[in-house]
Symmetry: C2
Subunit: 336 residues, 2 copies
Amino acid sequence: MTQQPAKKLYIHDVCVRDGFQMESVFVPTDAKVDLINRLSLTGLAKIEVTSFSSPKAIPALADAESVLVNLNRVPTVEYTALIPNARGCERALKCELDEHNVVMSASETHNRANLRMTRDQSLAQFAEIVRLTNGTVAVNASLSTAFGCPFDGQICDDDLLANIDRIAEIGIKRLTLCDTTGMANPAQVRRICELVLTRFPELTVTAHFHNTRGMGLANCIAALEGGITRFDASLAGLGGCPFAPGASGNACTEDMVHMFNAMGYDTGIDVANLIPLANEIPSLVGHDVPGQVMKAGSYDRIYPMPDWLGGKEQTRLAGSGNALIDPECRVTEVAK
Amino acid sequence: MTQQPAKKLYIHDVCVRDGFQMESVFVPTDAKVDLINRLSLTGLAKIEVTSFSSPKAIPALADAESVLVNLNRVPTVEYTALIPNARGCERALKCELDEHNVVMSASETHNRANLRMTRDQSLAQFAEIVRLTNGTVAVNASLSTAFGCPFDGQICDDDLLANIDRIAEIGIKRLTLCDTTGMANPAQVRRICELVLTRFPELTVTAHFHNTRGMGLANCIAALEGGITRFDASLAGLGGCPFAPGASGNACTEDMVHMFNAMGYDTGIDVANLIPLANEIPSLVGHDVPGQVMKAGSYDRIYPMPDWLGGKEQTRLAGSGNALIDPECRVTEVAK
């Protein structure tokens, strides 16, 4: 009996854009570049490195061009940036991104509040961006509030699908379903992911969750069961939502990678390489962060026995890691 | 086409025992009693109210008898307490509990470190407790480190099942599978729950997860998919693990109830009644707590639009709650 290879998952880090954009401190350009360069070596499939928003609107990301010009790019990583409008696209085209990530909301009210445009106006911008990029750069559409809107409530399926229809008609081939304010639950996520993938088999779909109500990783698994293999996440769980002060931010990259790896999936990432990077985030942003694995270590971390139980003689317990688990007893979970 | 009734889930709160036992402050007996009394009115199926440990070992719970004598018990709630040994059982028998929750570890090292007994000695205590209770009180066995041990690593299936065999042979009919230090992952949880429920159909099985590595709620869903309908959780996510300083504690009661309700399951609990109780925990213990829904509110919380978008005229957005979601658009998730 041959074992099936582990299913390949693609992890995208959005910390430098979605995380840093909320911060009141300006993370120095050098620090951003250094972080992205080191993230590039971990096995991430994509990194969202900045936003080409107005520097007045998002001063934390006012250094978009400087960040991009200074990167040491790795060929296996796609570098993307948020492109809020055609003006941002024109700036970004000079920076040779692999992808332009355009954004609109599934709900009219959130689109107007967040982007100060109607959805029709956003779609017109999308069309203009597709024209400007002219096939030289991939375009991904991030659909905010796809699982619910803090103003309008639940998005009904017909509305959601109509939004995606219009995005696809423009010629955009990549879509991210975003749970912008952490309203999604796993039953809903699985159903909606199945629905969207069935209706739009030609689209490459990513899921983007927030852990605002504690369901971030549960929603990732539900999305995976619904057919998704690409996930946005943020190092150290940075990010967040102006509607939920004190609550968690984006789904946490290293917690997600840790979980998927433990379940037997192939993320291509060793979580041990992410943890030191996550542990640098609090000093960059000046506050504690929601990531858990950066505090607790990997599930297979082994502790020495208490001294009174003979801990000092337990040489097999020195250090940590997989090798210390009794090989005869080891249970390998095989991903579906 | 008639809709199937929502699947019934049974939520047990362990905050006053598993949460408070870790705290350096002594929560006054009156505050414990008041909290338990109010928790009793929320729809919880079971509340673990204290531990009959040595007051020297766990001073935070030295008031076990006083707590129990002062409760206003609600007939629909089972009141349980941790019983570490036969001596504790003798004390507890005077307090008329609905259940004695005995405890041992699936791994020998953790049993010795935590209980200062071998597993054989623990099982002998269990037999003595079954003899002492003599059928007058239900006995539940909590099996710690069932999904992995911080000293011994992974527990192999044969070891796990052998532990449960011996517990069942003593005549214990209730079992809790505990992920004591948050090592479990959803693939493992689903597999092990299915395995245990198949091998021991006569046992009433509860799952007890910690959110140490962010997988608490994902593991609950995996357990549910594996056949579990009973879950331990801790108000405000209190609890924790000496091996993971700074990491999250037990799976959070109100976050779990919120998720299951949103998914269409019947927990019998309105999360709005748990949130005010959770919000009292930080002042009782003197520090912040990991609960998310207590900070973010329910997923169906609706915010007024920004004023410049006409927020003040949006009378339908006043207040919050389900009723504000457009009924024609509302999507109801139906639990499996």
